[in-house]
């Protein structure tokens, strides 16, 4: 009797397990084939000399020593980080500013929201081409405007510092609307009563912003910073189209570095090792963020 019960319980459990996995299978199968498998495969490839045609020979950790003893990897990793450092604060604060501007009841509120968000629905190649032309030294609108204002024109795409700013400006213009919309949603969740209470206490606008708005947005803010850092580290399209990594290699990013090593130099093994190192780096970033977020909460 007891044994039978146990057996049927065990059977039931197994059946339950399978039915749950059946629901998950359509998601798990692509995940295994196109995520887990490539991750492992990448680690394997990285230990070999490998071309687009396949394996040539086992080289152990040679690819890794080659990468880590060459300054290029650090340089391009830094470039990607540098972009993050430039773009994230701007995009977050400008996004917040735009959200605050149109959160108030103002004429044409929806129209403004549409305008700020509009660039986000364009494809990366469209925005890159628009800004490629905008930043053209001779026939670009940006320099013309600068000159009209009595400022000196800038070689946007061919001088190292300005090239980064060109990409930052294009990126901010493109995606800040996305950040703004999220902040708007966050603002709507802050209880109006808090502001009313503050008004009774005679709090200044700045105080209300500092002690009600900002804390109310903190969870949106954290998610956004996380999103934007990852997005910044993935930078490729704008650079590929607007500067091709140049001038020189100043705007070459880590993703473009992997692309060039793998597909232009046909050194898959080396590129896979770069990928693996970059994956580890991404995991580290995620861990740091997790720790920072948790510490703030406790």
């Amino acid at each position: 009797m007891k044994a039978q019960q146990a057996a049927s319980g065990w059977k039931r459990q197994l059946k339950n397990e399978f039915s749950a996995i059946a629901f998950l299978a359509p998601f798990l199968i692509p995940l295994l084939v196109f995520y887990i498998w490539p991750l492992l495969r990448g680690a394997y490839i990285s230990l070999h000399s490998w071309t687009i045609l396949g394996m040539e020979k086992y080289v152990g950790f040679n690819n890794y020593t080659k990468i880590l003893t060459n300054s290029d990897f650090y340089k391009y990793l830094w470039n990607s980080l540098y972009f993050v450092i430039l773009v994230v604060p701007i995009i977050i604060s400008l996004g917040l500013l735009l959200a605050l501007l149109i959160h108030r009841k103002i004429p044409f509120q929806t129209m403004f929201r549409s305008i700020y968000f509009l660039p986000y629905v364009l494809s990366v190649s469209v925005i890159s081409f628009i800004w490629l032309r905008m930043f053209d030294s001779k026939h670009g609108l940006v320099n013309v405007i600068l000159e009209t204002l009595g400022l000196s024109s800038v070689h946007w795409l061919t001088s190292p510092n300005a090239a980064w700013w060109s990409i930052v400006i294009a990126t901010v213009w493109w995606t800040v609307g996305f950040v703004m919309v999220l902040f708007l949603a966050g603002l709507q969740e802050i209880s109006q009563e808090l502001y009313e209470a503050a008004d009774i206490d005679g709090a200044s606008s700045f105080h209300k912003f500092r002690f009600i708005t900002l804390p109310g947005l903190s969870s949106v803010m954290k998610v956004q910073i996380f999103f934007q850092i990852i997005a910044g580290l993935k930078l490729f399209g704008q650079v590929q189209i607007m500067t091709n990594g140049g001038p020189g290699d100043t705007t070459n990013t880590i993703i473009r570095y992997i692309y060039v090593t793998g597909f232009k130099k046909d050194m898959f093994g080396l590129a896979a090792a770069q990928s693996t190192l970059f994956c580890i780096f991404m995991l580290l970033i995620a861990a740091v963020q997790y720790m920072v977020v948790n510490r703030k909460e406790s």
Binding site: L157, D249, V260, K265, D266
Partner: protein, 438 residues
């Protein structure tokens, strides 16, 4: 509840519609492609009755050259009914990345342009069709092509490509601007003065002082490796040692040439911010330019632009200068029917198209074309033929793709001063040696 059900029904209806749409477009794709579906189709459709064989032709020619290619393709499509060529033009900077992946995946062109110096790795990997048998089927004979060109595409005596040209740079100058600067001889050739790095700088400085508002010398900054090779080869340099086992680029000659160019930029004799120097010269805003022979038709044909062409002066000593050669190849994965069709196109391109191609300025590979009066009567072709005698091709290594990428990247870093010339050549040496050992 009714609303909910309507939602799920709608959702699946949409899914069904989209999947059908997807099915349609992927069907369209595979028939347009060189895929397997097309193979069986044309196999059963048996020769010629079901319309022309359509082949896809990849090339990397932009701007002026591209127009000549279009003329040749149109000419071919109009000249017969059996084969129809469709052109896909790719960005030259990414061309070999795309071509390499296409060959590896078996999905891509039926016939493609490739530089002779890029063939080695593809031949070694067995990704290109050997052409010996195909030539007979298309009635083509390699003896119609200049011997040195045939040799450049042959591996163990077997040709893997049909050469179409040799191309290199010439010294282009704007006669009006040089005239204004008082640097034109009576016969319309430039008066260089002393031919040396300093002498050439002097020549450019003279232009700068006499004709303000223009760039004395346009340098091909976006493709800086080409002007670099020209002067580096003049100085007697090489990329690799003769046995192709090691880099030979970390030397004074390379550093001198780089410093020379950096100096031109610094002194305002050339404009580093010019992303389209060929256009600057073409629109009369610069006085001199190392331009490709392929630009001859474009510049000379421009009304109001008074251009002269001569060999690049031996600024760094010798007359040796950079050259490359375009060829046409058929990937190995292409079906036999399409291979024959592609071979017919290649034959047409080099023999008939060669005449049009010659107008662009490339020195055609077909013997009959270069020997014709029609060719020699084109302007400056005697200079081209003379200049062709001192060219130097890239080393014939199957790692050329990677080496070329390294050289291009480092040179860009040097001219934009994120690296010193000394560090640059040292870095190139290290990277190239790593590539060769791999």
């Amino acid at each position: 509840m009714a609303r909910r059900n309507r939602f799920t029904t709608m959702l699946f209806l949409m899914l069904a519609i989209v999947l059908i749409a997807a099915g349609c477009s992927s069907k369209g794709n595979s028939s347009a492609n060189s895929g397997k579906a097309a193979e069986t189709n044309s196999g059963t459709g048996s020769g010629g009755t079901s319309g022309p064989v359509e082949i896809t032709f990849w090339n990397l020619f932009g701007g002026g050259e591209g127009d000549f290619v279009d003329q040749i393709v149109d000419g071919f499509n109009g000249s017969q009914q059996e084969v129809k060529v469709k052109t896909l033009r790719l960005e030259s900077g990414e061309y070999y990345a795309k071509f390499g992946t296409a060959l590896a995946s078996g999905k891509g062109p039926d016939v493609a342009v490739a530089h002779a110096d890029r063939l080695a790795p593809f031949v070694k990997a067995g990704q290109l069709s050997a052409l010996s048998e195909l030539t007979e089927k298309a009635g083509f004979d390699f003896s119609e092509i200049t011997d040195s060109n045939v040799e450049s595409v042959s591996y163990d005596g077997i040709p893997y490509a049909v050469p179409i040209d040799t191309h290199f740079h010439m010294f282009y100058y704007n006669k009006d601007l040089l005239g204004e600067a008082g640097l034109l001889n009576e016969d319309g050739t430039p008066n260089f003065g002393e031919i040396s790095p300093e002498g050439f700088k002097q020549f450019l400085t003279e232009i700068k002082s006499k004709v303000p508002g223009i760039t004395p010398f346009s340098v091909n900054t976006p493709y800086f490796h080409e002007p670099f090779y020209n002067l580096y080869y003049q100085a007697g340099g090489s990329i690799l040692t003769d046995d192709l086992s090691q880099a030979d680029i970390n030397n004074e000659k390379a550093i001198d040439v780089l410093k020379f160019y950096l100096n031109l930029y610094d002194q305002g004799l050339s404009d580093i911010n010019d992303k389209t120097p060929w256009d600057t010269f073409h629109s009369g805003k610069s006085a001199t330019w190392f331009g490709g022979v392929w630009e001859a038709g474009w510049h000379l044909g421009e009304e109001g632009l008074n251009v002269g062409i001569t060999s690049i002066p031996p600024i760094f000593g010798s007359e040796t200068h950079w050259a490359a050669s375009h060829t046409l190849v058929i990937p190995e994965y292409v079906t036999e029917e399409k291979q024959v069709a592609a071979m017919k196109f290649m034959k047409y391109f080099t023999l008939e198209g060669g005449k049009i191609w010659a107008q662009a300025g490339h020195v055609p590979a077909a013997k009959a074309v270069t020997a014709s009066d029609e060719y020699m009567n084109l302007p400056y072709r005697e200079e081209f033929v003379a200049s062709q005698k001192t060219v130097k091709h890239a080393p014939k290594t199957d790692r050329y793709n990677a080496i070329d990428t390294v050289v291009k990247d480092v040179l860009q870093a040097v001219i934009f001063k994120t690296m010193t010339p000394e560090d640059g050549v040292k870095g190139m040496e290290k990277d190239i040696n790593e590539i060769l050992q791999n």
